[in-house]
Symmetry: none
């Protein structure tokens, strides 16, 4: 076995990037976003993190980019697929986890800020789709297909719409705030959806 990393990470010359600073920045950004319930400024992030503005701009193109990375850093909970669980439990569990994540942790506020940013910054929107929404949707889709395969769900189930129906109400309440994210929200959503997809 050779001494060069098999991961082929070319050992670049010069001073290596400081991981402490990177984390300090992500932490500071999240902190500020929570305090102000608004996208923090680059300057504020830099000051809070004890890092120079130059460094920030070197690694992130915009405040949203920092926030997005912070969000992923802190909430990358594995979302493991557990095919042993009945389909309904698996899906309800996923929606319930989302409700609590958005309500009880920083993720909710961060997501709202990022969704706002995505309306003006195309790249943010796409990054969020790729790293946040789509993985979760695919997860749900997987379970729905499993249900169809094992006969617990109707054959012609409209998988895309069902996925929307499961998750959209949660994000909807987060964004508009017309009703709270209640503890039984996931349960109520799934109750409704199930009548429409459960095999007769």
């Amino acid at each position: 076995m050779n001494t060069v990393s098999s991961k082929a990470q070319a050992v670049r010359p010069g001073r290596p990037r400081s991981q402490e600073r990177r984390l300090a920045v992500l932490h500071a950004a999240a902190e500020l976003a929570l305090e102000d319930a608004a996208a923090p400024t680059m300057d504020a992030i830099a000051t809070r993190a004890g890092v120079s503005r130059t460094t920030l701009y070197k690694w992130w193109p915009s405040p949203s980019a920092v926030l997005l990375e912070g969000l992923l850093e802190h909430f990358h909970e594995s979302i493991e697929l557990d095919d042993a669980l009945p389909v309904r439990e698996a899906l309800t569990g996923q929606v319930d986890a989302l409700v609590h994540l958005l309500r009880d942790t920083a993720a909710g506020t961060l997501l709202r800020g990022l969704m706002a940013a995505s309306s003006s910054d195309r790249t943010v929107g796409e990054a969020m789709l790729d790293t946040w929404l789509r993985p979760r949707r695919e997860h749900a889709v997987h379970h729905l297909h499993r249900g169809i395969a094992d006969g617990s769900l109707r054959a012609g189930t409209d998988v895309e719409i069902v996925t929307d129906a499961l998750f959209a109400p949660v994000y909807h309440r987060l964004v508009w705030g017309h009703a709270p994210l209640e503890d039984d929200l996931a349960e109520r959503i799934c109750d409704l959806v199930w009548s429409g997809i459960a095999a007769p």
Copy 2:
């Protein structure tokens, strides 16, 4: 009967507000928002409308406020209640109207911008709730209650959740852009929901 006009419109002293200018501003704001797909600046609105910045600030506290009023001005379609229609048609029609409004007119872009603004500006969020979302929700709720009353819907129907399930997917797609607002979107959503609420 008194001599005072029954309309009782107190004649306010001073030069009356110019309606032409007001409309010019709302028009300009909407126009700019569509062109740039982003919230226009006060300065840009003023220039386009041929109005001074001072006047803008006199009547609206922020670009979002202008945009919101512009949105309502242009899309105040009556949303009349038509209790003659079967409940399902009424609701499907409402969702379908929303889909087309958001996809085919300026409303979609404007709404996205406003939703972004509402994440940092509390007042915008509340104004949107009061003038946009809640009236439409109450509308749906009315039809749902009508359905329960006439026996076409189950007695225990979870009205709030059903309303969310009907509308949320539409806004969700608008915001995230993970899938288009298709022509049959309303139909598919209602199909799914109906199985869960139709009286057996």
Copy 3:
């Protein structure tokens, strides 16, 4: 005797100008100038005087004009010529009166403000020259000529320079503030000047 004023003042039609308002404005302007030690704004004057801005602009072209009229209104003390007094006493008295006027009354502050305004507004400067400075200078010149005539002053006395030397130090201290306007200032100035102009 007829009822029409012999002064031939054409009785103009319509509502006559309100003298109460005029005085209220002059008063308010002076008051504000003193409080802020700066030229008041038209708006502030109007508010304080309980008068509308429209009225202000109808009668005065600028804040300085109001201030100037206020200054003249309040400080038009007669400056009578008293040829019975010895020349030196007359002049010393005039300088001393100026010192106290500028130091102990509103006039000092008002004058500073007006002098500032005159640097950008030509008309103010000329109005001040005509209504304030020149009358006082002519006064002094009169006494100097009297002194030359009665033999108490030298024949070749440079009247213009002497007048400057008498008054300039007072205004100079007012404007620059490098030294106070002391009680004996007039006396000291006159002492110095007298040695240069008294007949030997």
Copy 4:
């Protein structure tokens, strides 16, 4: 002996201030003041100097501050003390230099503008006192004391008043404009004053 430069000029971190820009600003400010005979706006200065408004505000708090520094930059003629000269010549020369400076160069206009500004902005007035008036007065006072010491002036000479009498008429004519700054003005003022202070 240490290796550190004896000049001990601490090398300050960060990008050093651009001297070209600083001078361009001062130049532009003076230029504009002369053209318009009025205090230029920050915006005009910035545009003319090819510098951003932000930079202006970073270094100067107000238009007046720029103007003052510009004035000092351009008219810092050495005003050296020449004790070899007879006292009278020294003083006459100083007054004469002032007359020509105010009449023939930009200094006159600039000074008028600054004196106007000083009436509303305390800091400007004090800066002008410290950097402009007092140095010149101390200069004159020095010569007067020299005259007293060498017996050419009377023992009890009122130095402060004499200094006022020498300079005030010049500034007075500049501000009020009731008479021009003639070529022989300095001579005439000194003639008058001298009779009052020359030793008998």
